[in-house]
Amino acid sequence: MRPATLIDSEHLQLIIQRLCYQLIENHDDFSNSVFLALQPRGVAVANRICETLKEILPESSIRVGSLDITFHRDDFRRRDEPLAPNRTKVDFLIEDKKVILVDDVLYTGRTIRAGLDAMLSFGRPSAVELLVLVERRFSRELPISPNYIGKSVDSYDNQRVEVRLDEKGNGKVLLSTTRAQK
């Protein structure tokens, strides 16, 4: 079956704009807020958002770090194939800052749980929020809920949300279906 397009590039532009204005409502000029993007695909989303924020707020300095969660996962030694870690780059302390965690897709919530754990290695934030480009509803295995949502979708377990963004965050989001229903 051919994958269906969930978000095309025009739609993506609108979503990013909306998310940016929602963020500005809560974070003002971002002087006390930082972005932590989850590797690998949260980084492209965060980059796109920060570029747009800089256009809207040229005076503000927006800080973005990338966080790899491989060593904090709860499925180490349980997966068929071990995961290769990605680079973590956090050049600032998050102590008493408002942290906005950014990821591409929220599904079971386990990645975000690991992300929260990894984040605490860099200090104790005053508050943590979660931004996701796509939220897959009714599939959470942990009590985790996003603060900012690009788009919510209802999907089956045998479906896969594919976020195809380049480094700058341009691209589209597809929904593909594998034959075998779990």
Binding site: D68, F71, R77, E81, P82, N86, R87, L93, S121
Partner: protein
């Protein structure tokens, strides 16, 4: 490739170039972890590691213990001087007793070459060789290669000279295997008596002249004279005196400046200052010695993490 082709780390000679690359790449991530404000990750929290040291060690033991603790593993330590080995227990019995306390990984240093390999065939656990006699010291070679890769960017084509007591050095043998697998050219340099016969068959160059060796190389990995492995019951002496060795093979600042180029200096420690290397060289800007110690923890974390990833899968 995201997993190793081996179940134990017994020596570099059992590793493929892909394994070495995977360990070094993973170590890069752990180096970032150990520079965080909180230097700990929970990956190995359900793993117990036993450090079995049948021979003295300060830095390797400390480095392994830190690596294990930073991965959140439970650690038990054992040293031969205060154990039942003195009461006549065999190696297999000692290890099996420790394993019945539900230990998942054994890190072992032993004075006899091949002891970890022997153990891996006879007990059911993951073994990491932390140095076996004059045979191999794989994690030291990996951390040397990691430090070098960080310094030079790429190891391929680099000329590395290992200077000193090659005959008694497990670091030399592991380094030769590791550097060659990563594409470096290796030379060994030392007195004739301290270079094993037929070492050229491993594909290394041999020199007995330190000045010529320094002219050839980009990197000098200087080894300590292992006095504890000389002498003994037959009182074999490999060179007339420390003073003469130092005059013939000791590296000093003047020698390096005569070559007219930058030579990276490495040393696995412990250093005998003034014997194989002078303080001005050991503490110079080109020296990676302290960098090697820091990288040791990251590399050992990578080895433990990658081997632990396969435990309990079968």
């Amino acid at each position: 490739m995201s997993k190793l082709s081996v179940d134990h780390l017994l020596g570099i000679k059992y590793l493929q170039p892909g394994d070495i690359k995977l360990i070094l790449d993973t170590a890069q991530n752990f180096k970032e972890v150990i520079n965080r404000p909180i230097k700990k990750v929970p990956s190995l929290r359900d793993i117990t590691v036993a450090n079995l040291f049948f021979e003295n060690s300060t830095r390797t033991k400390l480095s392994f213990e830190l690596a294990e603790k930073r991965l959140s593993a439970d650690v038990v330590n054992f040293s031969a001087s205060s154990s039942s080995v003195k009461k006549g227990e065999t190696l297999i019995d000692t290890v099996n007793n420790i394993l019945s306390m539900k230990v998942d990984i054994v890190v072992m240093r032993h004075p006899n070459p091949g002891a970890p390999e022997f153990l891996s065939r006879n007990v059911d656990t993951t073994i990491i060789n932390a140095g076996d006699g004059t045979h191999e010291h794989p994690t030291q070679a990996l951390l040397d290669t990691f430090s070098l890769r960080q310094e030079l960017g790429d190891i391929k084509g680099a000329r590395v000279c290992i200077v000193g007591d090659i005959k008694h050095s497990r670091v030399a043998l592991s380094n030769i295997f590791c550097l060659q697998r990563m594409g470096a050219e290796v030379m060994v340099c030392g007195p004739t008596t301290l270079i094993p016969k037929h070492i050229e068959t491993l594909g290394v160059k041999v020199s007995h002249n330190i000045r010529e060796a320094l002219k050839w190389c980009d990197v000098a990995n200087v080894l300590r004279i292992q006095l504890e492995r000389q002498g003994g019951e037959h009182d074999v002496r490999y060179f007339p005196s420390i003073r003469e060795y130092s005059q013939q093979f000791g590296i000093n600042g003047e020698m390096i400046s005569q070559t007219g180029k930058k030579i990276v200096i490495m040393h696995p420690g412990p250093i005998n200052r003034g014997v194989e290397i002078t303080s001005d060289v050991a503490d110079s800007a080109e020296s990676l010695i302290l960098e090697q110690v820091e990288n040791g923890v990251a590399v050992r974390m990578a080895v433990l993490y990658l081997l632990a990833g396969e435990i309990g899968r079968n």
